[in-house]
């Protein structure tokens, strides 16, 4: 592909994201017509009062789908950007944000909140209400990452191989403790836990969007700014240093940004696998290269688009019931990835 054309790929990916978001707003069990969409938009911007026939559309778009679509786009972008950065940092195509403990730590804390909040903090848990689970998951994800990063540091330097192994061990520990909590849980709690680990955007509220904009959106922008150092790291850590990169600082910043973005995303949606691992690969195959200046922004947009599309499928396939979104992302993504992989080999 001509390099002049390639420069437009991030813009193209952003357009794809916008189109998927629009479709996700209009489609679903209750259809919204384009006329309804414009009427609600005009009302929201204060341009024209809402005609009575579009009242239902206003509720569907404004209350139900709006926050889902925006949150889905942000979380998907965070997962994909973090996955791309981790693969670049670890110089390993199998890396994903889960490797630095985010998912396992968040799951442990979330399950802990579900099982232990009642007995431990009693009424206080009720007061925190909607925020208890996200806050616990966010702290758990960050805490596990911090522990892994600390374990892998020696004399001011982080050995990437040690980071990987420490991640495996901390992940196993978190999984064991999570299992212990599940063992202690009652039937209702086990059901809550199961659905949390499959992920869902059904709980999305507008109140979460500003938080996600800061805790997911800003880290994604920060990761985009690491494109050049990550390109240098493709050559190796020593080579990146020779090219003027502060390798140790890049490692720390990238891990921290990825951990914040993914912890915050997971906090609102539960565990959503697959996007962080596979979207970067799909993008590398699609853009025909590894230049992070292209791969990072395109992956972020397409990660968002994929999650929003998966959510549309999740709420449409078995309406009015909802299929957990983690199941959809894997069911859609895995065969597609295998097809791309086979085509690439051929």
């Amino acid at each position: 592909m001509a390099s002049r054309l390639k420069r437009w790929l991030p813009v193209l990916a952003l357009l794809v994201l916008a189109w998927v978001m629009l479709m996700a707003l209009l489609l679903g069990p209750a259809r919204v017509s384009p006329a309804g969409f414009w009427a609600v938009l005009a009302d929201a911007l204060g341009l024209a009062p809402l005609p009575a026939e579009f009242r239902r559309d206003a509720v569907v778009l404004g209350v139900i789908r709006g926050p889902r679509v925006v949150l889905g786009a942000l979380v998907g972008a965070g997962l994909a950007a973090a996955g791309t950065a981790m693969q670049g940092l670890f110089r390993n195509p199998l890396a994903d944000p889960g490797l630095i403990g985010v998912s396992a730590g968040a799951a442990l804390a979330a399950v802990g909140a579900i099982v232990l909040a009642g007995p431990l903090v009693g009424a206080a848990a009720g007061m925190m209400g909607l925020w208890l689970l996200p806050v616990a998951a966010f702290i758990g994800g960050l805490g596990a990452t911090l522990a892994i990063a600390r374990l892998a540091r020696r004399g001011g330097a982080t050995a990437v191989g040690t980071l990987l192994l420490a991640g495996v061990a901390v992940n196993a520990l978190c999984a064991a403790l999570t299992g212990l909590l599940i063992f202690m849980a009652d039937d209702r709690q086990v059901r809550d836990i199961t659905f949390w680990t499959f992920g869902s955007l059904a709980g999305a509220r507008w109140a979460q969007v500003p938080v996600a904009l800061v805790l997911v959106g800003l880290p994604v922008l920060g990761l985009l700014a690491l494109a050049r150092p990550l390109n240098a790291l493709v050559l190796g850590e020593a080579e990146a240093f020779h090219l003027g990169i502060r390798v140790e600082r890049v490692k720390r910043v990238a891990v921290a940004l990825a951990a914040i973005a993914v912890s915050a995303g997971v906090a609102f949606t539960g565990l959503i696998g697959f996007i962080g691992l596979v979207v970067p690969h799909l993008v590398r195959l699609a853009v025909g290269g590894s230049d992070h200046r292209l791969v990072l922004p395109v992956a972020a947009s397409l990660g968002g688009a994929l999650l929003v599309a998966a959510d549309l499928a999740a709420r449409s396939l078995a309406a009015p019931a909802e299929v957990p979104i983690g199941i959809v992302t894997a069911l859609l993504g895995a065969p597609f990835f295998l097809w791309m992989l086979r085509r690439h080999i051929a």
Binding site: P93, R228, G236, A238, E239, F241, G244, R284
Partner: protein
Amino acid sequence: MIAAHDITLRRGGRQLLDAVSLAVRPGEVVALVGPNGAGKSTLLRVMTGELTPNAGAVTWAGRSLGACTPLALARGRAVVSQQARIAFPMTAAEIVALGRLPWHGTPQGAPARQAGLVAAALARAGVPEALWHRHYDTLSGGEQQRIQLARALAQIEGAPAPVALFLDEPTASLDPGHAAALLRCLRALARERGAMVLVVLHDLNQAGFVADRVALLREGRLEAEGRPGDMLSAERLGVLYGVRFRAAGGLLAPDFAA
């Protein structure tokens, strides 16, 4: 001038370098020679700033390397390491373009000029145009080595004199024709641009051709340094490597049977 003063380096309880001092002056090619495990690559990595010695210091124009930021170093010296594996697919031209990374945001890094500099570096390193847009992984070891040289040449393009170039066995995978071209390129850099060149070599005849001075390293110590004619004698090399050398027609050859 880049100078190592009494460098001592220990790693994992082993003494890798023992009070080594070595200087490279502008316009000069210095060859590091010695048996496997003598500490040649380690000394090179200390002098690039990649490794911090336990004792001693490296100075660059009188300034301690420790006081320089990685970026400041990268704008004054380039390094060709031993064969490196890249993590994700990249084309030859993309890798060479990474050499321009330190100049991003400076007048020398102006986007419009970069493609030309990359092409010039690839041409100067003897990479045929047909390979420029091939994926690095699909190229031979020798071709990859020339691409790494091109990346280093691209990096020091536009740098204030004197620039420095460090190379660790840059001719290891090259055929004699390409090895000769690379050595001529190093000589030209030293002569025309006053570059400081430090190169690890195993081929003693290559060292004899390219070097103004040769440093002999053994077991982490500097055995001797001086003009190639004095250093690369059959007696000295026999002691250094533990194999007999014959001089024939101005060239040195190890006697494999003895």
